[in-house]
């Protein structure tokens, strides 16, 4: 799974876009979990 992780530099930021599939139209709040997989 880590191969798809987002890289964020030390002290930096990254903007991610999280979305539904195109056939899921109604906007709805969704719980999203962020897990730090590595620190180097």
């Amino acid at each position: 799974m880590d191969g798809n992780a987002v890289s964020i530099p030390a002290g930096g930021t990254a903007t991610v876009y999280v979305a539904f599939s195109a056939d899921f139209e109604p906007p709805a709040e969704l719980p999203i979990t962020f897990r730090t997989s590595s620190l180097q």
Partner: protein, 416 residues
């Protein structure tokens, strides 16, 4: 022979019904076509005759010696208390001091109640009960009953009603109270739409009202949802909230003036959460109504009511500073962007092509790395946060320069 019950003669029905219409009874027989002969009329010896009589009964006669013998006693009549003679009419009271013109139906000898007219504007139906306000203590409840004059009058003393109370947790935990549904009552209707305030109310069903208290000096967003109690059953529910109330709503005006309402749309628990979270002012209160969607389940059954403060993600959102640690927030995915062209089998490699013709809902989320090391962050979503919620996030890929994408939720990262 009982002439008063002989429907074939004009005397039938006279005096037997308050507004009986003898001529209609006659007509009913004539309409039947071959009218049975009267007693003493010429006939073919051996023939028999049957004719209607009284309250949808029949009587028979034989032809003896070339003449019709006496008809038998009327038998098989309708015996219901509200029976009537066919064709009879009456005026009866209905609705809020209105009247209706009723007609007795031939064949059934029962009244067909006419349209209720001339009702008292703003009046009530005698015998109807309700709870109302107007007590010395504004939060007290006044039971009322509709009098014969079609206006409500007091039906007992004012009373106060203690509600099951939950203080909204301030430590991020979820408070759980186990309560029981009360039997459907005169004021247990619930809003008929999800956009509050509403214009109408549904019929009464088993219900429960709880009082939520914000014990802090700041406004809070509160999520509240019922769930299965230990040892209890699953119920199809509707959850409504009334912010600012300390007592349960009892009048139509109070019940329709809801702050939030949710129906799961299926047969499960309902939940005021996420974008449906209710805002309770500093040191304020809200009353939450949990109603069974339909009154098909017994009252007295237990359920759990869950209450928590909604967590709102900071912007930017700091990632956990410890490897393996997680942080979870709810996000409203209401921004539309073009999707990336999907590979039905494999995750996409970046960069990926854009399918500009197809839009999808999502949200940009900015993450910050508070550590002094380069971090890698995995992103995922549960498919269900609460028992009633079933979102289906899958692969989506928007925009331009992507540094990562993965399923079941697609994420894309732009360079800082």
């Amino acid at each position: 022979m009982d002439a008063a019950k002989d429907a074939s003669v004009r005397e039938a029905g006279d005096g037997a019904e308050p507004d009986g219409n003898a001529s209609s009874v006659d007509g009913a027989v004539a309409d039947a076509g071959a009218e049975p002969p009267a007693e003493g009329a010429a006939c073919t010896t051996g023939a028999s005759f049957t004719r209607p009589c009284g309250y949808c009964g029949t009587q028979k006669a034989q032809c003896v010696g070339g003449v019709v013998a006496a008809y038998s006693v009327c038998s098989g009549e309708v015996t219901a208390a509200d029976r009537c003679l066919p064709g009879a009419t009456r005026m009866s009271a209905c609705g809020a001091c209105g009247t209706s013109n009723d007609l007795c139906i031939a064949g059934t000898c029962r009244w067909n109640v006419g349209l209720c007219r001339n009702e008292l504007p703003g009046g009530c139906v005698p015998g109807t009960k309700r709870l109302a306000r107007g007590c010395a203590n504004a939060d007290d409840i006044q039971p009322q009953i509709c009098a014969n004059t079609c206006g409500f009058v007091a039906d007992g003393a004012c009373f106060s009603e203690a509600l099951d109370t939950i203080n909204v947790p301030t430590d991020g935990s979820t408070a759980v109270g186990t309560f029981r549904f009360s039997a459907a009552g005169v004021v247990s209707r619930y809003p008929d739409a999800v956009d509050c305030p509403v214009n109408g109310l549904e019929d009464a069903t088993p219900y429960h009202f709880a009082l939520l208290k914000n014990t802090t000096a700041a406004p809070i967003l509160v999520e509240v949802y019922p769930s299965t109690a230990p040892g209890g059953a699953v119920f199809d529910t509707v959850t409504s909230a009334y912010v600012g109330r300390k007592s349960r709503p009892v009048t139509d005006a109070e019940l329709t003036n809801c702050s939030g309402m949710t129906d799961d749309g299926g047969t499960q628990w309902s939940a005021l959460y996420g974008p449906k979270a209710i805002a309770i002012p500093a040191n304020g209160t809200a009353v939450v109504q949990t109603s069974q969607y339909q009154a098909v389940t017994a009252a007295g059954q237990p359920f759990s009511l869950n209450v928590r403060t909604k967590k709102t993600a900071p912007n930017p959102l700091p990632i956990p500073a410890t490897v393996g640690a997680t942080v979870t927030f709810g996000f409203l995915l209401d921004q539309q962007r073009a999707v990336l062209q999907a590979d039905a089998v494999n995750d996409l490699a970046c960069p990926a092509a854009v399918d500009a013709a197809t839009l999808t809902y999502g949200r940009y989320i900015t993450l910050s790395n508070p550590t002094n090391k380069a971090a890698r962050v995995e992103i995922r979503s549960t498919s269900s946060w609460l028992p009633t919620r079933a979102a289906s996030p899958t692969i989506v890929r928007p925009a331009k320069r992507w540094s990562a994408i993965h399923a079941p939720i697609s994420t894309t990262a732009t360079p800082a």
